[in-house]
């Protein structure tokens, strides 16, 4: 008798739970039918502000390498990421180099102009940094013959300074992008202790050491 009662209660409870589940399914189906598009639009808007990290991680795992025979980079670093360090021991500079030249990058260290070649590719490379105390304030102390070392994730490159010039900001032809010789051009704002916006650049020209 007791067993019958228990079995009835269990069966009735399961039945009622299934009814609850069916009503819920019907409700969700109805909402999807009438408001499905609007809900997808809301998810779309939310996803524009919710960055998915999976893609970022995949990209960061790909190593930048150099094909030495063809002098070509395989897997260029992602824009905005650090791929090298620059050392100028004469003026105690040891800074990270980021691919790109945005304000955000220049706040963190040295930028690499995205229109120029990479170390090891045999072409013109352009780096830039602010003339602040922690970056290139001491550029005025550099002399012809001083060395610059760039250590990348795929190798180490040494350059020797052969020229230094003050150029106007619109004289971009004085920083030519060529592929016949590996030249590293590093520039900063000039005068070094100017207040306000500077219209000149102090450029250091260096060539690769064999």
């Amino acid at each position: 008798m007791r067993r019958n009662k228990l079995s009835y209660v269990v069966k009735a409870t399961i039945r009622d739970m299934i009814v609850a589940l069916l009503i819920m399914v019907l409700l969700i189906f109805t909402i999807d039918l009438f408001l499905g598009q609007e809900i997808n639009s809301v998810f779309g808007i939310l996803n524009t502000v919710a960055i998915k990290t999976e893609n970022k991680e995949v990209v960061q795992n790909i190593q930048t390498t150099l094909n030495k025979e063809e002098k070509k980079i395989i897997n260029y670093p992602e824009y905005g990421t650090q791929y090298a360090t620059i050392e100028i021991s004469k003026i105690n500079v040891n800074l990270p180099v980021y691919y790109g030249d945005t304000l955000e990058i220049l706040k963190k260290g040295v930028g690499h102009s995205s229109g120029s070649y990479f170390p090891g590719e045999g072409g013109s490379i352009i780096f830039m940094g602010h003339n602040s105390k922690n970056v290139f304030r001491r550029f005025s102390e550099l002399k012809i013959g001083d060395e610059i070392k760039v250590t990348t994730t795929y190798g180490e490159y040494k350059y020797k300074i052969y020229d230094m010039q003050i150029v106007e900001e619109d004289e971009s032809y004085k920083l030519p992008i060529k592929n016949d010789k590996e030249v590293l051009m590093v520039y900063t704002c000039y005068p070094f202790n100017n207040i306000g916006y500077t219209k000149q650049r102090f450029v250091v020209y260096s060539e690769i050491m064999e």
Binding site: V9, A50, I51, K52, K107, I195
Partner: protein
Amino acid sequence: MLMKIVKNIVKYLLLIVLIIAIISIILLTNLSKTILNKNYILENFEKSNFYANMENEVIENFEKYILQSGLEETVIENIVSEQKIEEDVEGIINAIYDGTDYKIDTTTIETKLKENINNYLAEYKLTEENEKTISQFIKTIGNEYKILLDYTDYTSRINHIYNKIITIKNVIEPILITCIIVICIVLLIIEYKQIYNIISLFGIAMLSTGIFYIVCTYILKLNVKIENMQILNDSISKVIINIIQGIVDKINSMNIYIIVAGILFIIISNIIKSIKMKNTEDKE
């Protein structure tokens, strides 16, 4: 027989309306306690360490201008404090929720900055052009602070949306409560001879509501990476993420009680039903 079928159809239709009403009331209640509650928002700002993070964010943005100006970073030291940010943020939140007018005052920031620049340039002989540039620089820093904190357009827009939501909520809430009461009365009338059926219906309604919210929060988490949201800046993003997670967590914890209560109601009503059935069999 036909009466019984009609009675069951009416019963289940009322049940669906009841479920919708309960789902809506729960949502409105949660929103009222969280995102529509000024104190909850301010508490989240505290919990997320927003003011200290925002202070760092503000200084980092000022540094953008410093690097180009040729001035040392020391001139922007101590021009903004966590207290100032807290004061301004509370003013903005009050403007959003209470509709008050609040304008960020950057006088203290600009005065301190000017003092720092004057100290730094004490040995320099400044030209008129230098003075002009410095003045422009100070104004730019003041403006940058306002933009970072206020996003002026957003404050008035959010206040407008908030007022609309409150108006709608104040209309819908009484309607939903009336609806629930009316449905309860109608169900009592329909099932006055078998009250345990009403208990069972409430149990089904609560269970459906609980499962509905579990499915909804699952779909939300599947489609949107809430923890990766980036809105305006890192500090504000952290607060918004905490608020959304807080709402989802509140609903999830409420769900557990709703589901357990629903299952208990169903079990109790079925136990009562089985006892009644046994008594009826015994009498026969």
